[in-house]
């Protein structure tokens, strides 16, 4: 008889769906099937079952080939590398639990590291804007139960957060939203005709790189001031129509993604989108929310927020926490030659960073902790495979609306494998010995 595990949390994207069911083999050791998840979420569980999965660390040899190593050797190598470095970069921290992020922060503090997470190439600009002007937010539950106007700006949940629309933002029937999608007005702002745009009531095909102007025009329209005939490729009548729709919402929300966080204007796009939201609160209730990518990138910002006071780009080199994206951001550090060692956990910069940065990772001593073989492990000197967090070990994660959710262990990791947290505990112990603390 197969076993069914219910209420499983999906450790893939920031939607952090908590209604998955996992079908286990008779002995409870293998995952056979995953119900309720979207295709990418299901694959995360099924990937952990791969027959050819790495179960022990491997160290790069002189000739470039790999040699298996023990976890003790891996801990020793990592601790030595971090303790010797003048300015090590410790990057990633998004596909892991808050417990591991906590231990990693302790290591970072001891070695005077540059701590940075995937926000640096994702919603970091959002965090800068929030620090500049604050943020009127809400939970996804409120969106489900109250929102009748939903704006997706520079994001495409149909592909990046597949169940977002069915669980929270467009289709579900909630307490005050009994008509489901028929009661909601959906506006998509995107230069491309995306799948999300195809189900919108209104699609504004903004000119590439002119989101800042369009958001500014919305503010002008909300205030009833005169506008030029066309802004960012959108006629002023449409801008005024959207402004009126937003003002007349019972409860509205703007979701935004990397189409605005990493196009021209970056943090200023988010800053002004927050100001639009704030302006609308003079008329109705409006909130704004970033579509966070990795399932626990939000948690890493939370952990560092309470540890160091800053959610990413934390510079611990001088014994106090400093912060200045543009200087202490991973790609600037790598490209400018500001760091002398790289430690990666819970992310794949090899796949996401510009080539110049990855080249630097290749040149520097580099440790990558990841259950998978990835483009990052290709440039690593030491690859430490670990248990899948959220599948083989539980732990705390923060959803994109900053709600903490406890993820569950579903199956055991292969014999003798360490979790992120256990590996980091080992490194922390050894770094303490090396530093004499």
């Amino acid at each position: 008889m197969t076993k069914l595990v219910t209420d499983v949390v999906c450790p893939f994207c920031g939607t952090l769906c908590d209604d998955l069911e996992v079908v286990l083999s008779d002995d409870g050791k293998k995952i056979v099937d995953v119900n309720n998840a979207c295709a990418i979420g299901a694959m995360k569980f099924l990937h952990s079952q791969a027959e050819d999965r790495l179960t022990r660390p491997r160290m790069r040899q002189e000739d470039g080939s790999w040699k298996e190593a023990s976890y003790d050797e891996a801990i020793e190598y990592t601790a030595q590398m971090l303790a010797k470095a003048k300015k090590p970069l410790m990057y990633g921290w998004s596909s892991t639990n808050c417990e591991a992020q906590g231990v990693g922060s302790e290591v970072g503090e001891l070695v005077g590291a540059q701590m940075d997470n995937t926000a640096t190439v994702c919603h970091g600009s959002t965090l800068i804007a929030v620090q500049d002007v604050g943020v009127p937010g809400c939970t996804l539950g409120e969106v489900k139960n109250r929102a009748d106007v939903v704006v997706f700006w520079g994001c495409n949940p149909a592909h990046a957060h597949p169940r977002h629309m069915s669980r929270y933002s467009i289709f579900p029937r909630g307490f005050f939203t009994a008509k489901g999608h028929r009661g909601r007005t959906v506006v998509v702002v995107d230069p491309r005709p995306t799948d999300t745009a195809s189900i919108a009531n209104l699609h504004l095909q903004v000119e590439q790189g002119r989101d800042y102007e369009l958001l500014s025009a919305l503010r002008v329209a909300i205030r009833g001031n005169p506008l030029p005939d066309v802004v960012a490729g959108i006629p002023k009548e449409t801008i005024i129509e959207v402004a009126e729709k937003m003002k007349n919402a019972r409860f509205g929300v703007i979701f935004f993604g990397m189409g605005v966080t990493h196009s021209l204007s970056k943090n200023h796009n988010i800053d002004i989108a927050i100001q639009v939201t704030r302006d609308l609160n003079e008329y109705t209730k409006f909130a704004i929310m970033p579509m966070r990518g990795h399932y626990n990138v939000t948690g890493s910002g939370q952990v560092w927020g309470w540890q160091f006071g800053y959610p990413f780009c934390v510079d611990l080199s001088r014994g106090i926490a400093r912060y200045n994206p543009g200087e202490s951001s991973s790609n600037d550090l790598l490209v400018r030659g500001e760091v002398d060692a790289v430690f990666v956990l819970g992310s794949d910069p090899g796949a996401h960073f510009p080539f110049n940065s990855v080249k630097k990772m290749n040149d520097l001593p580099c440790v990558v902790v990841d259950p998978h073989i990835t483009p990052s492990t290709v440039v690593a000197d030491l690859h430490v495979p670990v248990a899948f967090v959220g599948v083989e070990v539980g732990g705390c994660a923060y959803r994109m609306d900053n709600v903490p959710i406890e993820t569950h262990k579903v199956v055991d990791a292969p014999d003798g494998m360490l979790t992120d947290e256990e590996f980091l505990e080992g490194v922390l112990k050894r770094v303490k010995e090396l530093k004499g603390v």
């Binding site: 005077g112 800042y212 002008v220 800053d271 100001q275 543009g326 030659g337 500001e338 002398d340």
Partner: protein, 266 residues
């Protein structure tokens, strides 16, 4: 005025943080004492003397102290940061935070400076003869009080985000600038003698921006008023006068709404 001459003698492997290179810190110190001051490379603390030769000596007071820094300083940050008086002359290119949080005195950078030069400047005179990077005279992250006072002059070009959250003082750029000029500006004056791009004066509440060259795309919240004849930084010309940002909140003074002003040279 007494002069201290620092010449870089060894390049750091990474970058040096040298916020101690100011007349305020050097005042009353001999060459040996100055050489014993701290500089930082990553998590290591070194002495200034390990990286620079020190000649001359400081005056008794900061106001009486002039510092000349020479050599390849492209891996040196924070020169002249937080200085309140005296003089610093940089002979060559320097890296980030040159003259950041400066409160007074004179800083002359004969070359290019990196990003964040004159960040959160409160006073004094910062003159860059080459180009500047991004965030020239901008606010430090999260601070809503950017440049408050003083004069920041760049003869060459500057990058993006100049004068963000600026509240007072003057920024004059001789050449071109990148996007975002005077975003959230709440006072002060920005003069760009070359071309601007776009996002000029976005979210501006108060203050003045003068653009001598072109503007690729105007912000939608700026409304044309009239043509005016002005003398700006020694140049007499006719300018188109716009007010804005009309999407932003604006206070009133004596019953009149106060706007930001954007002047575009004809």
């Amino acid at each position: 005025m007494n002069t201290v001459v620092l010449t870089i003698s060894k390049q750091p492997e990474l970058y040096l943080e040298t916020e101690n290179i100011t007349p305020d810190v050097f005042a009353g110190k001999s060459a040996e004492e100055i050489a014993a001051l701290n500089v930082y490379e990553g998590n290591l603390t070194h002495t200034l003397g390990e990286y620079f030769t020190v000649a001359g000596g400081a005056g008794d007071t900061a106001a009486d102290t002039r510092i000349e820094v020479k050599g390849d300083l492209t891996r040196v940050k924070w020169i002249g940061a937080k200085m309140t008086t005296g003089e610093v002359v940089i002979e060559g290119d320097s890296d980030m935070y040159t003259g950041a949080f400066m409160e007074g005195g004179k800083l002359l950078a004969k070359g290019n400076v990196g990003h964040f030069a004159g960040l959160g400047m409160k006073g004094g005179d910062l003159h860059v003869t080459g180009n500047a990077g991004n965030y020239l005279g901008a606010a430090y992250r999260g601070d809503w009080r950017g440049m408050m006072s003083g004069v920041l002059r760049v003869d060459g070009n500057a990058g993006s985000d100049i004068g963000t959250f600026m509240r007072g003082g003057e920024i004059i750029v001789g050449g071109d600038v990148d996007v975002h000029v005077g975003t959230h500006q709440e006072g002060g004056k920005i003069v760009v003698k070359g071309n601007g791009k776009s996002k000029i004066g976005g979210q501006m509440v108060k203050g003045d921006i003068y653009i001598f060259g072109s503007i690729d795309v105007m912000m939608p919240g700026f409304a044309y008023r009239e043509n005016v004849d002005l003398e700006v930084d020694g140049v007499k010309a006719t300018f188109e006068h716009y007010i804005g940002d009309l999407g932003e909140r604006h206070g009133k003074s004596k019953g009149e709404t106060i706007y930001g002003h954007l002047y575009k040279k004809l």
